[in-house]
Amino acid sequence: MSAVEVERTRTGLRDAIADLSRMGREPRVRLALAEAEFRLAIAPGTEPAEAVELLRAAITHDPFLPKLYLHLGRLLHQSGKHLAALSEYRQAVQLAPSSRRAHLLLALALLELDKPEQDLGQTMIKALASGSGEDLRAAVTDLDALFDQRRPGGTTKAASAKKRPRRALSGDADGKPDAAKSTDIWRVALVEQLSRPKPLRAQVAAHLGTGSAQAKNGGGVAEYAIACVLMLINGDSAGDVHKLARSTIAPHLDDPAVRLLDAAIGLVETDDPAEFVTTVTEHLENRVLPPELVCWLHFVKYGPNSALPVADTLRLLDAYPERVSTLDCFQELRLAVLDGHARKAWADERFDEAKLLWRETIPLDPYRVPVAVNLALLAARTKSVEEYGPSWERLVELLYLHAAGAGDVQLFLNDRKTLHLALSQHSRQRHCAPATANATPSDEEIANWLADTDALEVWLREWDLYYLNARLRFRSPTHLLGVPLDAPIDTLAAARDAFVSHVDTALRGQNWAGIGAFCDLAAAKANEAFDLAADLVERGRDLYHELEKAQADALADESLRRGLLLRSMMRVLVEYEAARHIQLGCSIARRQLSLPWDILQPICADRGLIGHDVDLVPIFEADLVSLAVHWDQPKPSSDHEWSRRLVALDECVAVLPHRLELRVLRCRLLNDVGRPADAYSAALEALELPMPSDELDPAHDLRSNLVDLIGAIGYTSIPEALRQPRDIACAERTLVAARDALQRFPHSGTLRVFFVDLLVQLGGEARMTEAVELLTAGIESALNHKQRVEFETQLASTRGAAATDAIRRQVKELAEPAINRVHEAVALHNENPGGEAVQATLEIVREAQKDVSDALTVAELAGLADEVALLRDTLSRLGEIEGQLQRRAE
């Protein structure tokens, strides 16, 4: 069919479905709908996912049509969902018990599963090949029994299925199996036998006999030729295969399949490598043999298990012309040869050679996981310091990259889980007795382990990654999220957020290609799990919850042991009371807090480890705080050490951003290390955290500490020499410094108060005004109530001082000019003493007395004691001067 015809057919079917859907639900319409949906599902160009949906829809319209289940199973089978396919095939067999097609597909699906299922599959194929309906029925009964054993509380559906009408699949007869048609199965049976590690020769011979008989009757020559090729592939000698083929298909030498067999036998019998290469090239160019077959034959004759040295095997591969050697399967052949020789070199402990050979495979496929495993093991075996890290990183990177590239976190999930668990166990066993992994390490073991930071970091990191992958493996949404089946929606949301955050923390920062995409996939899985679990109907339908419960409980148990061990480690670190353990403590705390304590706490309580009302998370947080308080022990002795302590406290704040204690410690360190501006900013940022409503909460004291620290930072930014000015000139310089400091640290209460005090002390209208403005601004921007009250109190007294200052100025303006005039007049008089001068001077003195008296009155009213005393004294002296002048005048 051309593309146009295909599309026309599909469009026609879609239109028919739409039309029929509008016609109501009577049986004839439903049957027509089911057939339309079926035809569209099997039409060329229909994507598998769409086909599955169409078939499911068709089943709802006609649940008794076996072909729907058969084809649905086929699609699931082809997409790797063998268990799901099995279920559909079983339905098809139920409805059409004499269908060989359905039984064959059922058998093939069974062969893809575990050993018990594979055994049943083999039995079914044998029964199909022999045409024994009884054996077939017995195998199906055994299959039902196997499923019943595994299904919790399940019962076989066989009884209810008997009530359904049975309809044949096309091409099948009801009743006994068709003896003629059972000969079709010999090929499947032969392939199945040859796929076993130890094929049963008698069975193989029987199937070949069937094939031979069929070929001699004129049908199936090509199929028999292919069977002979498979025998050659399976290791039979060229002579034996020749004997097998000779009498049956020798008359059909023109048949391409027979020529293929002949060519393959010829290659096997070729002794000279160069001739082999030439012949292969000819056969490929003449399209006599497929490339995959010649690659296999080359591998057998001249691969790692041949007598050829590795250099010669590679030279032989190089002898192929480029148009051949660049074919995909020849690239795989080269890789297989290199790998085979590398593994031999490894077994013989020729490690340099093994490394060289495995590295040669990288240009052929840089993403081959087994090569990455082998190179990593090589680096470990040779204890190569420079290669160990990069090779293990590359391996892990590939395991995540493949999953990201395929858009499926399940890809290589078991490998990732096992690798991370293996590395974490290996790290643990370096210092802790391996006798029972469940036993708690002793204090001495923990201390030794803590001292080995490399090993400990590996354990911390790798167990987290193992845990995340173990969670992703669950198909039950509640187990994936790590919550109980009856968890309320807010618990589900919190669990989802915690899981996504854990993925981000543990993975997103890693420098691996594609890790961002992987994290997005994992987050999508968590969201999908949340959506399913949040829907109560879907949650009730969760088939996997019970099936996976044992694994989920085991993981919870492991998590609990991990959490308790982490706590033991933290307690040991706290006891050390030293700053150098803070960073490690952060690492431990981060892991502690990422565990699902909502689930684990009740388990702890049930086991009597804690009381039911104890909340462990604040206890873990307090442990980190207890560790961090020793940040200055011992006092850092170098810039490098200061930096390290700061990095450690930065991390503490990152782990517990809501804990004010850690922020206070960090601010102190910043200030001590000579970064007051940073300390100031950090303190302000800390004060923006929500305030506790409980007034007795210790956080209030911590906030006061931060306010005091901010105050001190501002005050100490004034040079020490200017903090206690001894004269006016110095005070003026202090004012400038204080003004500048307040620009930089406007929230420093101590600085602001100091500045205001100095302004008031120096006096003057402008300074008083500035002081009032500073305090008004301070009230608006006060960091806490205490600071606000302080500013308000000071403002009141400053206003008073400002008023007094004004009066002082008024007194001064009254008295000073008068006193100056007296001094000038007396000086003139002393130069020219005479009658008129005396009178004039006397006038001036009397006027001055009046002014000074007025000033004295103002000073007395304002209570300015100093000024009053001075003015009285001045008046007294003016009186004496008046007396003297009067005597002279007389």
């Binding site: 099997i42 089978h77 076993r196 090509a222 297989a336």
Partner: protein
Amino acid sequence: MFMIDLGAESYYSLLGVTPNATAAEIRQARDGLVRELRERQRREPTKRKELEERQKVVNTAGEELARPANRAQYDQDNAHLRFFTVRNAAAPLFADPADRIDVLHRAISAHLNSAGVGIRPLSDLDRTDFTADQTPNPLLDERLG
């Protein structure tokens, strides 16, 4: 620098078997080692105590691994033993006999089909044309014309 230690002894390495060994192979290995150790005890009486200890360890290892539940727990607790083994990096065609037969059968069938031979599919999994499975339906067919 932390490195995994591939030389660390396990129950498997003690018995000289791979982590994939069957229970029968494990029992055989244990019995062989015990026999050997007993002979050595007879030949080297001065080392008797040491050899007896070794025999005890071999017996313990054999007992643990021969019992499926114990072995499963041991494997779970020592996941690295299975993981840290050199792997076959070749494509399934070269690495796995079962896959090889399947891959080559498909390749040969496809090759011959492209040459016009028309090899019958082994099963429905190898087919693409299912027109024969359509069932006539008057109500549908009249709409399809």
